[in-house]
Symmetry: C2
Subunit: 246 residues, 2 copies
């Protein structure tokens, strides 16, 4: 049995998220269908992050097991020839069987794009926020999230009853010519965590909540009033990092 | 009667180009429908450039005449509320009746995007060229196009039998991290001219034609062998400039 690692980019528009659901096309489902067809046996694909409906990935990481002896470069071409246009396999390589796309990952980085300019090319890939945002305040809120915190106000664990403590390693805001970017790296994320963080950053930056409210949400678990998760189309799973020893 | 100028951005994907056709949705058609509905009388919209099927615009310019006294900012909101998501009116202003979106324009600038990296986010907005391109050679070809030339090998005039002489004011290639951009400014363009120019640039840069072939196409009207127009999705109408006195 060989374990194969994939790096996959996808445009999440129109998909019902990463994970196979009872209804609607999913990224995992499309990958399993294409790979099973190419390798001529049923495969199960495990991803590093279960992105929500409409969320994109620049470099999602996944693995599957196969009995096939097909060369990995041949696999890559064949997978892409059988996948819909919005899903692209960027890398295929054989890995040690100890490698697990989800459990061996040490960090995930997401990027969230906000646009002040309403252009049709950004509609699928950014959140259009027409009102004024205080960028220096956004940067302050981002800093508050950094560190080990109980993020129970920002999302639910994937496993019911699981821990809501996560380590945010980096969280910062980049601003350039009409475009804002929120970058977050953590060991792992709760469901909708990045979108709730971005929704909070924008809420404070538009003057509707304070920095103190954000601190209280992490220390006393009082949710910031009126925060909604930022819409999915601005979010990209950007990078997944792994232990060096496997 | 008031003459109104519009600046419009659109994602050309799925549209049958700018100009109203007997079949398929067009940008001009969608604009006329939305504006006529808002102003409650039939309007005709004249555009600066008739972009082909699948070509985008960052800032197409158009005009129409109306008897309505509606404020231009109110118009802008109402037009956008009635347009499909892929078409955005960016500016609305009242102009002198001597202003004509097509005839008063002194230059049009197009940008063409080429990507070396196959990512799903670029599929709608760039030409994916997987083979090696000699960027310094691309820059040389671009220079050859600058000046007043008979571009009969590069496209047909909009009016049958019309002149094929055009003045290319600027033509250059920008390269950064996996992305190439061909920028062309001219007084006016022939049909498919930019796409044929880009197809030629890429043909030479991949070693299948020479700089001499390109010069010959402009001087002796021998078409460069094997050139196909670059695909529409990489092309953006970027800017239209006007005489200052109207």
């Amino acid at each position: 049995m060989r374990r194969i690692k994939l790096v996959v980019a996808y445009d999440g528009t129109g998909y019902n998220g990463w994970q196979i659901q009872s209804t609607g096309a999913t990224i995992q489902g499309e990958l399993e269908k294409a790979i099973s067809k190419v390798l001529n046996h049923k495969v199960s694909v495990v991803g590093a992050g279960r992105t929500d409906s409409g969320v994109h990935a620049l470099a999602q990481v996944a693995h599957f097991d196969t009995t096939s002896s097909m060369d990995v470069q041949v696999m890559k071409k064949a997978f892409n020839a059988n996948l819909p246009k919005g899903i692209v396999v960027r890398e295929v390589c054989e890995v040690n069987e100890a490698f697990h796309a989800r459990f061996s990952a040490t960090s995930r980085t997401y990027r969230y794009f906000i646009t002040k300019v309403n252009l049709p090319f950004f509609t699928r890939y950014a959140w259009f926020v027409p009102y004024e945002l205080d960028v220096s305040l956004m940067k302050e809120v981002a800093k508050v999230f950094v560190g080990v915190h109980d993020f129970r106000c920002y999302g639910k664990p994937m496993v019911p009853g699981g821990s809501t403590v996560r380590e945010v390693k980096r969280c910062y805001v980049k601003s350039r010519s009409g475009r804002l970017e929120v970058v977050v790296e953590a060991n792992a994320f709760l469901r909708k965590m990045v979108r709730n963080m971005v929704g909070t950053v924008v809420r404070v930056a538009s003057g509707k909540a304070s920095l103190e409210d954000v601190k209280r949400s992490l220390e006393e678990f009082v949710p910031v009033n009126g925060v909604k998760p930022a819409p999915p189309q601005g979010l990209f799973l950007w990078k997944v990092e792994y232990r060096r020893d496997i």
